[in-house]
């Protein structure tokens, strides 16, 4: 039995479905990346500063998240969010798009932990002299971070953050488990509904490749332009 290819189907409703899926994927990426940075940067800084209470808490969060599957975390939030979050929030999320919200919460917390480790590694990689110099200039702790440390940390963490972004793009496919209509979901749906799995999956694969490679390329260019004044 041989398969009858029909690539022109991608220029009909099928293609439109894939395009809608791509938009949902990108929307997920935008939300997750923003929230993961908002979570990850403070956690990374707290882990690096060290403290008696907050630092172990951040360590536990990072360790637990990094050693468990993102997929199970999505399922956890999808089924448990109604028990954990306050009732008004749940009602708002339910009216908005609960599957989407649960995936965003789970994946933001997941990637937040990885970004926290990137930030911590970046802070540790800055030579100690930089801290001493900033302090001896009379800068307060927050000024030191803002004007001396973070600009350097940002420069050296751009490659890792790019990797993390690519990983976010790939992990949004897991949102299919709770029924978010992102790209992989659309490809699967087309396979079931039109029986055009090969074309749909090939197109989805190509779209993921383009998104990830474009992201990696932009990250590499940006990293190079940030480092152009720095002697290696």
């Amino acid at each position: 039995m041989s398969y009858q290819y029909n690539w022109s189907i991608l220029w009909s409703d099928v293609g439109l479905g894939l395009l809608r899926g791509t938009l949902v994927t990108l929307e997920l990426v935008g939300w997750i990346l923003t929230l993961a940075l908002i979570i990850g940067v403070p956690v990374g800084v707290l882990r690096w500063v060290g403290g008696r209470i907050l630092s172990p808490l951040c360590w536990a969060y990072v360790e637990f998240i990094r050693n468990t599957p993102a997929l199970v975390q999505i399922l956890f939030w999808y089924f448990s969010a109604a028990y954990i979050l306050p009732r008004p929030v749940v009602l708002v999320l339910r009216d908005w798009n609960f599957e989407f919200a649960a995936s965003v919460i789970a994946l933001s917390l997941y990637h937040g932990a990885f970004i926290a480790e990137v930030v911590r590694a970046g802070l540790q990689a800055i030579p100690k002299g930089q801290y001493d110099a900033a302090r001896s200039l009379g800068l307060r702790f927050r000024q030191m971070l803002r004007w001396v440390i973070f600009p350097q940390v940002f420069r050296i963490t751009v490659p890792s953050l790019t990797n993390e972004t690519v990983s976010v793009i790939k992990n949004t496919s897991l949102a299919l488990a709770v029924g978010v209509t992102e790209l992989t979901y659309q490809a699967k749906y087309i396979d079931a509904y039109y029986f055009r799995g090969v074309e749909a999956l090939a197109a989805a694969t190509a779209i993921y490749l383009v998104l990830c490679l474009a992201m990696a390329g932009v990250g590499a260019l940006y990293s190079r332009s940030l480092s152009r004044h720095v002697k290696a």
Partner: protein
Amino acid sequence: MGWAQVLTVDNVIRLLVGDLRRGEPGGLLLTLGMSVVGIIGGTVVGVVVGVMRASTSRWLLVPSFLYVQLLRNIPLLVVIFWLYFIPPHFGIETSKFFSVSMALIVFTGAYIAEIVRSGIRSVAPGTVEAAQSLGLKPLQVRLWIVLPQAFFAMIPALTGRYITTVKNTALAYLIGFSEVTEIGREINARLMTAPIEVYTTVLIMYFGVNRCLSALMRTLEDRDRFRRVFIRL
């Protein structure tokens, strides 16, 4: 409370070994089985492709480069779908275990190839020159001189990749494979009132497996301990 409903003897046995009594292994046992297949297969593929990536021949370099770039830039779920839903279109029967294992192996292999490549680059060139001047052939140099030295440099990165592989086995539940996530989903669907407890249990199981795995890898990291354990064998 929900914990009493979730952690019944029956549920715990199902989470650990599935329906082993009826001859259908599942649960954590199947998760571990798939992890071992993915880790060992992925390492073999990764070493072969990684050595190809570090070679100078264009015929080895180009295919290995394309393989790594392709697999590293698409989600594992898409690979699983390629290997599970597409072969039937061409009249080829697929089995869940085979599809998921193959997907895990080729996916993990692409990442390990990059780890192996940078491990090879970290080996001091002097040792390679010394081996060459002793008259070893290029492949012999790679296999017996470079890779063993690169191994210790690769261990931290490999640990991370192995942990990811264990986590990635959870994706098998999406094609209805009864590993620990799927059993958790079944228990949750039956109880309907204790999702926090059910999924926390599943998460803790993965956490335990991964902590054991990283502890195991840390014992390998110490060269002296590694020699004591393995060279004596």
